[in-house]
Symmetry: D2
Subunit: 379 residues, 4 copies
């Protein structure tokens, strides 16, 4: 694995490294860790990499690694840069003959996303989007329960993702995360819905197997001086007629990372919260609510195969992300063996998921500015 | 106190009796407990009332009680009938010279509500609407914290009230509650928003002191055969620019009575859930969340004066409702003493709160049917 | 009902009045509310009693009420004085021909308790001890689950009751509750185990149907200047071989009223906490934990008949206590009708429960002072 | 790092590998993964190790690695075998000149433990015991709060560790974990107190800085056919006069891994539960309870430096263990540089902690068999 981004002061880079290496199947062999070559060097040193494989730019890395013998060079590139770099780095990587695993959101606009989809088709390379929460055991369990019909016909989805870290104008202090995420040049058309709301969208579709077809949105800018939304609410309509509510915020004081989803069907309900990620509540009609736990009794195969520890040993974010990597590593192993890989057989988020996310964010932003009540989300 | 409704199979009647009598200041002296005189008699007997003060109809009760000597007759009438009877009984009671305390919603339509307001002004009688949740100590604490500026400027309100008791077509079984609440003739223009959503509306305005000025709604009928909403979502805009989400459901399997509200300001956040009614979470900017409890440390006077037991003795619904009665009893005591009562000095919900609730429900129903994104809620 | 104790500054008196009157079957008709006749008068006035039935002393009340015509005089006496008065008032009441309902603990020592049992047998009067928590619906459900064998053979009981209100030397400030409860003359041989621990003992035996036969105790006095325990731990052995732990504290800062019990059998486990009194967790072997709620699905008859409100309407302490009163009122009704009452058919705590509690507290205090590891609890 | 134990069906081995490698500072280079050489080979292959560094026995590994050039051979040995092998492998490793990191409990009896301490002193090698929970950020925060005097003088400690995995006679099915843990030959003198209770002991002393000086224990064997305890309770006395309760169980149906600790002082209380490991409740006298979160506001340096992700990203067991490895890696780095290492300056559990744990378990087992109430825990 070669890495673009994720240098010294980028928290998410370290998380990806932990997750990628968790199962001992993926090794970091090189990187271009920063937009500043000097910082990249220092980061590489922290990571005990040989200096010759720490590159000043991603272009450099792709070119030079490409010239190494096949069994020495990196097998794929991990991209954990600010959003605006996802597209150019992915395009260059694919052109350079490398598979890609990329942090979300996939790109900063739809055009890029659609170009990228075409490029992936053309090159036949693997592309995985790290929608981390789809790797959590209890999210897999939730999807499984819906798929088996335990909830019956879905009637309502409520999903929310409040955070409070941007309750003040943190970007004014120069904090790096806050700076690029609130800046349209790096973050795209949205801050809060793009960053938080898109997780809600992804979980809602992932768990229910339904598609959000129409939205009615009201985005806000709560903190003076911002140009992108830092808070917003969306009414949802699904392709089976179900309705829903999605809201997200970055100014919700007291909320750290409070992603949650509730799915209501005509036979039962499930509830999941990131704050207690190894618990899934299942309420069937006229029965007491059941508390399902990662690794505990009653839980199905899909969740079990995404579980590393015995019940009660509190698996968390890194393990969830590691499940995405583990599945990608399986596909990679086939590709490295020279086999043709049918990506649809591997359970990790792909370019289509990325495009659906882009369509959603784009439509929500348009809806918020529109007088029309409902806007359709393109397929 | 004389009672209209609340006979044998009407759960809410018994609850009102417990609450009214909790502090030993109000005594049930007569009643017309049912639309069936025979059932009224039996209910009166259950309640150990003398047979001559158990009436067959409310008109009878008002007329005959009115003829009793002043110190014998009932002082006020409690109305706990199905919604459609709130208006005619209240009008008759006021005309008969009696003060009124009435279960919510106040009436089944706006015309009635406005007539009722005029009649109250004309007669000068007291009118209390039992918006029970405003009597809960932690709701009083919440209002107090907002009023003192602890949360700063309010940015967002999220309030929800899912229940699951109508997830199936319970009314088909003849269950009385389900039958009238899903029937426009008895319930008015809405079932779920009228019954559940109006509590959310009331709490949002009660706690924040703000007014909901615009709504964008999407109501649903989930169960076949119904004509009124049993589920719905509403985007909210407040008079200070704050935004919000309100959703309610009667088909949310697993939810018993899950009213909750979260209020986010630029200095802090509060969170309250009916499922844990004696806890209020307060999160101030850059501070750990505080857990405030009914009767516990840190809690202000407004909550304390609505508290009967020491901290940890789990007060509930009856005590909350009893706080409304206790305040109404204070106003009544003055009125009985022959003094002029300035109702604004007493902290119980009044006809204006009822009218605001009616406007809200009415506008939400219209919004749901409308192509326009935002509808204004009349004042 | 005539009341002894429960005057102006005695919180528990008001709670008993609310509970007794909750179902409209019991009426307060007279009282001797305080050891100070003047204070008794004022309390009686607060309660809207006719002055002639507010007595200066309990002896006065018993004598004068006894002379009233049978259908005018009080039917029974409620005793809510400090502990040391429970015995003399009960004895006088029984001698005066009145039934008694008495707050716990029954007496301040064993001799009194045993005399009292003899007196009850002799007079044939009814005697109810208000072990409030046995009236909670989910405690009834717990007992029912054990009795039906759902948990199998009980292996372990863990019960605790931490409070923090005596963490400082509150009695030095003259606070009335703290003053008498920490004073052996009024409270008996123990403060914390007598007041808190005895609830744990009672629940453990009530739910499991087992008896605690041996104890090994370590009581503490944490606050300087006290002579009675304010904290303590006890190892338990039950008559079926089960083991357990009981601990209680009045110096546990942050705990308001945190009574809880967990019962572990070889087929399943139940868990109940007073802080969330309408929830009972049931974990059966190799099944996900079930969440049972007052009034919710799956709950048995015993709990249902102790439930007044629909699921989710948060019943609390007053309702629990009211369930004791309701059952006592049933027995009273029979007695008033002149029938012979077989007390064993009524589900309220009786003199035997009081004696068991006294034996437990007494043995724990002795055990704490003893070098022997285990002391037997007398039957 | 070379590994002894942790082959294919040993869950804890994989967990240690994840934790050790999490921060990219430790690499697995060789191993003797099983008592069966064939299984060791297969495990080594799973882990992508070169075949020549997968050994059939630990003796082989120590001998052959010792002959490799210094910069090629393993730097230290990780021991994750059943308990009875901890001692011989550690002794051989130290004799062979290797530092050691060893899973707990350190040995199966006191003699071994004391021999081991002497050997460590003699060889001057580093020795780390993986008491995982001491690596959790909120446990570090707890220790820090006590050390800063926030809780005042400690009065009471309550710690428990129920699990339910041995509620049935799982060892009869041949399940490997159950088989050796319930067998005195592999597990030592205790199953439940040794495995679960020793974690409670360790946390109690780690957080409070106090020492448990006396115990009074009652151990049980709940499941027929066992010879070691599977459940037990212990009264505790601490060197400052504080009292406590510790209980643990492996037959507590419904409990997965429910380690918890509460520490009560005269100024405040803390509460921590493994089921919600990133939360620490802090209740100061006469203040509302504060909810502190890993990475959240108010949390001190000790916890912060043990935190990898932003607040709300749910760190768990692996991260906690990784914090032990990270600290050990720092000490190792110094040792590898040829410097003299003062182990007391590094914050990981050491041989003394292991010995204290052994003394505790040993005394508890003796106490349970004794008629004496209190037994002293040797220093």
């Amino acid at each position: 694995m070669g890495m673009v981004g994720g240098g010294r002061d980028a928290f998410i880079g370290a998380v990806h490294r932990m997750a990628a290496q968790m199962d001992g199947q993926i090794e970091l062999v090189c990187g271009a860790f920063s937009s500043t070559p000097q910082k990249s060097k220092l980061s590489g040193k922290d990571l005990l990499l040989p200096p010759e494989r720490v590159y000043g730019t991603y272009r450099d890395m792709i070119r030079k690694e490409g010239r190494l013998p096949e069994d020495e060079r990196m097998d794929f590139i991990l991209i954990v840069t600010p959003n605006n770099m996802h597209y150019p780095v992915t395009m260059a990587a694919l052109d350079g003959g490398f598979h890609v695993i990329c942090d979300r959101p996939m790109t900063v606009n739809l055009d890029e996303a659609q170009n990228l989809e075409r490029k992936i088709k053309m090159t036949g390379k693997l592309f995985c989007l790290t929608q981390t929460y789809t790797g959590f055991p209890m999210i897999r369990e939730a999807r499984n329960l819906v798929a088996k019909g335990k909830l019956g016909t879905i009637r309502r989805v409520v999903t929310e993702y409040p955070q409070g870290w941007l309750a003040e104008r943190l970007e004014a202090s120069g904090q790096k995360q806050a700076s690029w995420r609130t800046d349209a040049r790096f973050a795209g058309v949205s801050c809060c819905i793009g960053d938080n709301g898109s997780h809600c969208h992804n979980l809602a579709e992932f768990i229910t197997g339904l598609r959000i077809t129409e939205v009615c949105a009201d985005l806000n800018i709560c903190v003076n001086g911002r140009t992108l939304d830092d808070d917003g609410s969306v009414l949802l309509r699904f392709d089976n007629g179900a309705r829903g509510v999605l809201w997200a915020s970055q100014v919700a004081i007291g909320s750290e990372n409070s992603l949650s989803i509730r799915v209501y069907g005509d036979k039962g309900t499930i509830e999941w919260k990131l704050e207690d990620p190894n618990t899934l509540l299942l309420s069937l009609l006229n029965k007491p609510t059941e508390v399902r736990h990662t690794g505990g009794p009653g839980v199905g195969k899909a969740a079990k195969s995404a579980t590393r520890l015995p019940a009660g040993y509190s698996e968390g974010y890194v393990e969830g992300l590691a499940n995405i990597y583990a599945e990608f590593a399986k596909a990679m192993a086939k590709a490295i063996d020279g086999k043709v890989v049918d990506e649809s057989k591997f359970d990790y988020p792909k370019v289509r998921d990325g495009i659906r996310g882009m369509f959603f964010v784009d439509t929500v932003v348009k809806s918020s500015a529109s007088e029309s009540k409902w806007l359709a989300v393109p397929e």
